[in-house]
């Protein structure tokens, strides 16, 4: 029983710390919201008249472009949040505060899991605030959809957070992080169904279509899109779950002092 209490205390401490840090860094909160809102208010407004969206599941009628890209922008919030967590882990490791976490008397996988969950909770706050603002821009889903959305966001947040964790286990210096933006975030986001439906991509490039189809970010966005309309996208769910398990597994390996990055950094 005592050990369970210890695990719970540690988990809550990591989550609480992350939320406190997030609330104290108002700039981070604002920029996390401004990014998707700029896309919604400016990019989507510009493309509204250019791009017509046919009736595709889960939608039962014609929708406006801002309505279409809202799930993609939710995914974008979680993607950037995952990368932000990853960035802060690289920073923490360089600055040392990550060390205090790693030398605490709990299994490393559990500490990383707690850190991951903390990032997901932060992203949930960001997403629901974004949706509240988007509501006034006529991006509205049935109210039950916002409840359906919760488990979908947990899974997509975990998957994208685990990707961030994985990257942080391989990035040795903060300076290398710019590469992540160019080689991970942008390709993942643009090569997905976040901004345009897959059938439109298929029309212009079958190869790009295949890449987008198997992009975990596409699957996370589709999971979110369907959940907002109270529908369960089985394929997207399993795909996202599988990606999460793989990313987390490799990340834990990466943080293992005898097998991962630490070992490569210095093994006897």
């Amino acid at each position: 029983m005592r050990i369970l209490i210890h695990y719970w205390r540690a988990f809550w401490a990591v989550v609480n710390r992350e939320l406190l840090r997030f609330l104290k860094q108002t700039g981070r909160f604002v920029s996390a919201l401004v990014r998707p809102l700029v896309w919604l208010f400016i990019f989507a407004a510009g493309f509204r008249s250019v791009l017509g969206i046919a009736i595709i599941p889960p939608y039962e009628t014609y929708i406006t472009y801002p309505v279409y890209i809202a799930p993609g922008l939710i995914g974008m919030i979680q993607l950037f949040n995952g990368m932000q967590s990853s960035l802060s882990m690289v920073y923490d490791r360089e600055m040392g505060s990550m060390r205090m976490l790693l030398v605490s008397p709990l299994p490393r996988w559990y500490l990383l899991w707690s850190k991951l969950m903390a990032g997901v909770f932060v992203s949930l706050v960001q997403v629901y605030v974004f949706l509240a603002i988007a509501w006034f821009y006529e991006v509205q889903a049935p109210w039950q959809g916002y409840l359906w959305l919760f488990p979908a966001l947990l899974l997509s947040g975990l998957m994208l957070g685990a990707l961030g964790l994985l990257l942080s286990s391989f990035i040795k210096q903060l300076e290398n992080f710019a590469g992540v933006m160019n080689f991970v975030i942008f390709p993942m986001f643009f090569m997905s169904s976040a901004l345009y439906p897959l059938w439109k991509i298929k029309e212009s490039s079958p190869l790009l279509y295949q890449l987008a189809r198997y992009n975990p970010f596409t699957q996370a966005v589709e999971l979110i899109r369907f959940a907002l309309y109270q529908q369960f996208n089985e394929t997207a769910c399993y795909f996202t779950l599988a990606a999460f398990v793989i990313f987390l597994g490799v990340a834990i390996l990466g943080y293992n002092p005898s097998k991962g990055m630490m070992a490569r950094k210095g093994g006897a």
Binding site: R9, A10, M95, G267
Partner: protein, 240 residues
């Protein structure tokens, strides 16, 4: 027979093919201050990373309070308090929030955690400043917060990796005196890495590390006798 606070047996470590530590063998008694003396690059921080399991060695054994750090990691790390060379406090959080976070990671919570935080902060004359953000504290006070934090769980072994680096003379002297008093007051072993000879007290034990090898271990009089020198400084230069 008492169990050493730390025992290291036949420990070697390399960064790739470059050896950093070679066949280290030593034990730290359960009470008192042991100084790990070595020039920059001697392998002190690497040794600390191995003790705290940030790195993993393939050769040798490390035990904290009798618990093997690989096989009994939880018990070993629970017996340990650490102050790293670089500050590991969260600058955005208050002193109290930093300590509560650490206490929770070590399973301390509620009334017990609050009591321990109060005791350690009062001992270091920081209790009145517990609500302040760490970013507002000067270097000396941050170090004191880190020491208070490391002592929260009443560890058997306190590891200090060059804790006075970056401090002004006044803060440094105060910290050195405090730490030497601390080991007289409670059942605690301090393992203190430094390259500053004036931080050594006559009562301390010494381990001299140079290029990854242990050049000497013993008390201050023993090192003076073995090297036939009059001062620790001269003995250190002879050994390294």
């Amino acid at each position: 027979m008492s169990i050493p606070a730390l025992s290291v047996e036949n420990l070697s470590f390399a960064y790739g093919k470059k050896p950093v530590l070679q066949n280290l063998d030593f034990a730290i008694p359960e009470q008192g201050c042991t100084i790990l003396l070595g020039p920059n690059g001697a392998g002190k921080s690497t040794l600390f990373a191995l003790i705290t399991r940030l790195y993993d060695s393939r050769q040798g054994r490390i035990a904290i309070a009798g618990f093997d750090v690989k096989k009994q990691q939880r018990k070993a790390l629970a017996s340990l308090g650490v102050v790293f060379q670089q500050t590991t406090l969260d600058m955005n959080l208050s002193v109290e929030q930093n300590l509560s976070y650490y206490a929770a990671l070590h399973g301390l919570g509620g009334q017990r955690a609050r009591l321990r935080i109060r005791q350690e902060l009062e001992r270091l004359e920081l209790f009145e400043r517990r609500k302040e953000r760490v970013a507002k504290l000067n270097g000396g006070h941050r170090r004191r917060v880190e020491i208070a934090r490391a002592l929260l769980t009443e560890p058997r072994l306190l590891l200090l990796d060059e804790p006075t680096v970056g401090l002004d003379v006044h803060s440094r002297n105060a910290l050195v005196s405090y730490l030497h008093e601390l080991v007289k007051q409670r059942p605690l072993a301090i393992f203190w890495a430094t390259h500053l000879i004036d931080e050594i007290d006559d009562q301390d034990r010494l381990l001299v590390l140079h290029q990854g090898q242990l050049k000497f271990q013993g008390t201050v009089p023993e090192v003076l006798e073995a090297t036939r020198q009059d001062s620790i400084g001269d003995a250190f230069f002879q050994l390294t």
